[in-house]
Symmetry: C2
C-alpha cells in the first residue's frame, strides 16, 4: 500500500522528469473568496495535467525487464498522455486503448507522444477484454489510472510540493481542495499532507451529479454515480471512488465539495483573467469550490489544485464568452 | 547605470515579493521550431507581466522618506499595475496617469491595486504636463517605464533566473528572444546574461511595422516607428528604444527579429494548447519568432520570454478561433 516512503521514493525518481509546478495567487481571487486563495498549477505539468506524475511513478517503478516489454492503459485523456510520455522517455512501448469517438486531438497527442493507440467501439466492444488480450499476447503491464499504489504515490508527489510551498508561504492550517475523479490524486495528496503538513487537510471536489466521492465519504461506503457521462468535467467523471483510494480518503480527507457546471466555467474564466493559466473544466472544480463555496471552507487560507489544462478551444471560448 | 551588482541587489530586495517564474517546454513546440524551445513564463508573474519586477525594484530602491511621499507613473497597461502593486505593498501612495479611453478593465485593475488613477484626454491634454504638476505638488517620484536604471535592474532579475534555469537544463549556448518595447526588459536580461551566462545572447523581438529596435540595432543609431498605434501588440508599441536602454542593447544584443500579427495570434493559440499559459499579443512576439523564424536563429535550443498575459477575452477568443 502507498505510504509516505513510497511517495518520497516516487519524488526522487521523478527528479528532472516532472515539473515542480508553481503555487499562484491573485488579490482579485482572494477578494471573491473572502480568504487567501492559493492555486497549485498542475495544468503546467508535462502533458498538461498531474497525470504525468502517476504515469512516471508507475512506469519508473517497474522492474527493468518487465518494463522493457511495455505498458498498456485505458484512457481517453490525461492518463493516456501521462503513461505515453513516461514510456517514451523510458524507451519502452506503450499501448493506449481509447474509444474510437475520443476527440481527434487527444488521439493525435497520444500518438505524438509515441504510443500505439488501439481504438475500440464504446457501444459494441469491451475495452477490458481488448486490453487483456493485448497485454497477454505482448507481456504488457497494465497501468491503472488511479486504483494502483504506485500511481497514487506519483500523484502524492504533488502533495509533497504543496506541503513545502505552504510552509514557505507561512500557511500552517488550510483546506486543500482537489478535483476528484477516482481519487488517485486526492488520496496521494492526503497521504503526503498527513505525513509532512498535518495542518493541511485534503478535500475532494466534484461536479454536481457526479459527486460519488462526496456521497461515499458521507455514507461511509462506496456509492456510485447514477450517470456515466453528461458533465463538462469529463476528465474527472468516474463511476465510483476506487477500492484502494476510498479507504485512504475516508481516513484522511475532509468532506467533499460540489459545484455546478456554470461555476466551473466561471472559475476557468477567472483563472484566465487573474492567474493567466489555462484550466480544463475538470481541473477547475476545486478553484470553483474555493471561490463559490466559501461557507463550506474553514480558515483564512485555502489551497486548491488546478489539475489539468487539456481543454479544446471551443469549450474554452464558451467559458470566456460567459464571463 | 545598471550593472550586474544592481541587478543582484534588485533580486535580493525582490525575494518573497516577486515570483520565480517557470521555464516551460513542449515536444510539440520543439517539433514546429525544429529545435528545443524553452518559454520563460513571465505571464505568471504577479500582475500578469514582468513589469512587476521593475516596479518593485524602482519603488524598493527609493530612500524611505522620498518613497513615503509616493510615486507616479504614466501607463495604460502593465507598468501601471507593476508600480501600483509595489507602492501598495510598501504602503505608499501611487498615482497613475492613464488615457481616459484606456480599457475599463485596466483602469479598474489599477484602482483595485490601490492606485489613484488620474485620467486625461489623449487628444487634448499633455500627460507629461499633468504628471509633472501632480509630482511637484505632492512630492511624488516619477517611475519611468523603461529608461530608468532601477527599472532595468528589476527586469534584469528575470535574466538572472534564465541564466540559472538554463544551466539547470544543461543549456550552454542559445539565443534568448525577448518581446521588446522600449527595451527595459531586453537590456536588463542582456546585462544579466552577459555577466552570468555569457553563452546566452538576448535578441529583441517586435511586431511588423513597429520594429524600431531591430532597425535601430541595424542602423547603429536610434530610429523611430512611423506609426504610434495599429498593432495588436499594444503592450510593446513604443516610439523608439530608450536613450539608456539602446546603448546596452547595442553592446550586448544580437539582431532583432520581426513577426506579423497573424503569427502572434498563432503563437498565442499554441501557448494555450501546448503550455497552458495565457499570453497577450505583445507577450507572444518572442514565441512567434522562435516558432516561425527558425532560419534566423542559431543553435539547437532557443529560449523565449512570454512577457505578459493581460489580454481581454475578445482578443484571446480571436486567437483561439483562428487556430
Amino acid at each position: 500500500m502507498t505510504d509516505i516512503a513510497m511517495i518520497e521514493a516516487a519524488a526522487r525518481r521523478a527528479e528532472g522528469h516532472i515539473r515542480r509546478t508553481p503555487l499562484l495567487s491573485s488579490p482579485f481571487l482572494d477578494e471573491i473568496a473572502g480568504r487567501r486563495v492559493f492555486v497549485k498549477a498542475e495544468c503546467l505539468q508535462h502533458t498538461g495535467s498531474f497525470k504525468a506524475r502517476g504515469g512516471w511513478a508507475a512506469v519508473s517503478a517497474l522492474p527493468a525487464d518487465r518494463r522493457a516489454a511495455g505498458v498498456i492503459a485505458y484512457s481517453s485523456g490525461n492518463h493516456a498522455q501521462g503513461v505515453a510520455r513516461a514510456a517514451k522517455l523510458h524507451g519502452v512501448p506503450a499501448v493506449i486503448v481509447m474509444p474510437a469517438d475520443a476527440p481527434r486531438m487527444k488521439i493525435d497527442n497520444t500518438r505524438a507522444l509515441g504510443a500505439e493507440v488501439v481504438l475500440y467501439d464504446r457501444a459494441g466492444e469491451d475495452r477490458e477484454a481488448i486490453g487483456a488480450a493485448l497485454a497477454a499476447e505482448r507481456g504488457l503491464t497494465l497501468i491503472k489510472p488511479y486504483d494502483e499504489p504506485q500511481v497514487i504515490a506519483g500523484q502524492g508527489t504533488c502533495g509533497l510540493e504543496i506541503a513545502e510551498q505552504a510552509a514557505a508561504e507561512g500557511i500552517g492550517t488550510a483546506d486543500v481542495l482537489v478535483c476528484c475523479g477516482g481519487g488517485g490524486l486526492t488520496s496521494g495528496i492526503a497521504l503526503a499532507l498527513d505525513a509532512r503538513a498535518p495542518g493541511l487537510r485534503a478535500r475532494p471536489c466534484e461536479p454536481e451529479g457526479f459527486d460519488d466521492t462526496a456521497r461515499s465519504l458521507a455514507a461511509g461506503r462506496i456509492e456510485r454515480n447514477a450517470a456515466a457521462a453528461g458533465s463538462i468535467c469529463d476528465a474527472i467523471v468516474t463511476p465510483a471512488p476506487g477500492g484502494i483510494t476510498f479507504p485512504i480518503m475516508q481516513r484522511l480527507c475532509g468532506p467533499g465539495l460540489v459545484v455546478d457546471d456554470a461555476e466551473v466555467l466561471r472559475a476557468m474564466a477567472l483563472a484566465f483573467a487573474r492567474l493567466k493559466i489555462v484550466v480544463e473544466p475538470g481541473g477547475a472544480v476545486a478553484l470553483a469550490a474555493a471561490l463559490f463555496r466559501p461557507e463550506a471552507i474553514a480558515g483564512d487560507t485555502v489551497i486548491c489544485v488546478a489539475t489539468g489544462g487539456n481543454v479544446d478551444a471551443a469549450t474554452y471560448i464558451r467559458a470566456l464568452a460567459g464571463d
